[in-house]
């Protein structure tokens, strides 16, 4: 069990800057995120898209913003627990006990939820019987590629993941690449490679098709795919891989006793605390009158929530307001040497 002053859920820009604000006032924190990398929506949804409304930064990409924030919080040597989704939050006297999907446990008087619109989960097939085969014959990510050896694989999707895995698996499996339209949005070099492999007979490409049904008892035997013109085609398949990107799901947050307003958590605007003492919400996931879903708003919210955590983490101390320009305390926390 990891003991900390604050558990921050979400490693997007709002969570990262909040780590900075916590560090400045001398609170320790741990960060949990369900993605495999730091940056949240900025890195997952728009790493290359320029952002123009970060104060004092006329233009930067989601990736640059993330890297700068990582740089900015370096002095605090924060632990990041990636690939972990917070599943359970329970009260224990003055602390919260937090459990993640990978079995990590934390004890903290404060939780700051900076979870965007929830955790990123793979988008799934629309076909009903797919649930039954999920994790067995239908996969949304590849953990062990050896299971595909000499099997027939139907890969759905038109982006880089679909193309890359089609190329990779074509060396040892029979690959059928199925996509809803003729154009692929993945890297041109991958598109070219896939088309080459098609000419060599190593990949079959089926476009303007979507999954229609899955047949099989304990394992997949056949699938049918439906063409835009309505025609249905039955093909033999052992494994289905679906690559439709990620979607944000609120997930277990709904079970933590928090008030919810649609998919958002209402907070006060004094310190962004929720209806639960010691649980704060900042960034896109919080709501209050006048809320703007801007990164800069998330920064402001994080600064106030960090200070809101202080009284629970240091009940016998008083928080003094200090500037980074002049405070020796703060500068020490930032690892600066004072002459």
């Amino acid at each position: 069990m990891i003991d900390t002053d604050v558990l921050v859920i979400g490693a997007g820009p709002t969570g990262l800057f909040c780590v900075h604000q916590l560090g400045i006032i001398g609170l320790k924190c741990e960060v949990v995120d369900n993605l495999d990398k730091i940056g949240g929506q900025c890195i997952e949804l728009y790493p290359d898209k320029p952002i123009y409304d970060i104060p004092a930064i006329p233009e930067c990409t989601g990736e640059e913003l993330t890297n700068n924030l990582i740089q900015q919080i370096k002095p605090f040597k924060t632990n990041f627990h990636l690939n972990n989704r917070v599943d359970e939050v329970k009260k224990n006297k003055n602390n919260w006990i937090i459990k993640t999907s990978k079995g990590k446990e934390f004890k903290s008087p404060n939780i700051i939820i900076a979870g965007g619109v929830g955790s990123f989960e793979p988008r799934k097939f629309a076909v009903k019987e797919c649930e039954k085969f999920e994790g067995i014959g239908i996969l949304y990510s590849v953990k062990d590629k050896t299971i595909f050896k000499d099997k027939i694989i139907s890969i759905f999707g038109g982006g880089d993941s679909a193309l890359d895995w089609a190329i990779e698996l074509s060396t040892s499996s029979k690959v059928q690449l199925i996509h809803r339209r003729d154009e692929f949005r993945g890297a041109q070099s991958s598109v070219n490679k896939v088309k080459e492999l098609e000419k060599e007979g190593k990949i079959e490409i089926l476009t303007q098709y979507q999954l229609n049904s899955v047949e099989g008892k304990n394992k997949i035997e056949n699938i049918s795919i439906k063409h835009d013109d309505g025609n249905i085609k039955k093909i033999e398949t052992n494994y289905i891989l679906g690559f439709f990107g990620l979607i944000m799901k609120l997930g277990p947050i709904v079970n933590w006793g928090l008030n919810l307003d649609k998919k958002h958590i209402p907070v006060n605007t004094e310190n962004f605390e929720t209806n639960q003492k010691g649980i704060f919400a900042i960034g896109d996931i919080c709501t209050y009158p006048g809320k703007l879903k801007l990164i800069l708003s998330g920064f402001h919210e994080g600064a106030l929530a960090a200070r809101g955590c202080f009284k629970y983490a240091r009940p016998n101390e008083k928080l003094r307001f200090e500037f980074t320009t002049t405070s020796k305390n703060v500068q020490e926390r930032l690892g600066l040497k004072n002459d």
């Binding site: 728009y46 339209r181 990107g245 879903k293």
Partner: protein
Amino acid sequence: MPKITYIEHTGKIHTIDVSNGLTVMEGAVQNDIPGIDADCGGSMACATCHVYVKEEWFDKLKKKEDGEEDMLDMAHKPNKFSRLSCQLIVSDELEGLVVNLPEIQA
């Protein structure tokens, strides 16, 4: 103000006045119409404001920009009348527009 009609997957019809300049997505969100999530807030990054435009309206809309079709790859059961409602800006020409909402937003 143009009237926009949103038809839920269940068949429930909502006809709403939406100000010019707003998007069809914003019209739905501001009026609490279920079935449009708009997780990313309109930056064409999530495909959770997916709608099916009524056939007779489809060609009257501004063509898709780069990126919209890519995002639609990720939508739930897209078809040839699929659009992202965050990319449809309301104007007088859209008076009477009808969109059907998918069963779920992925």
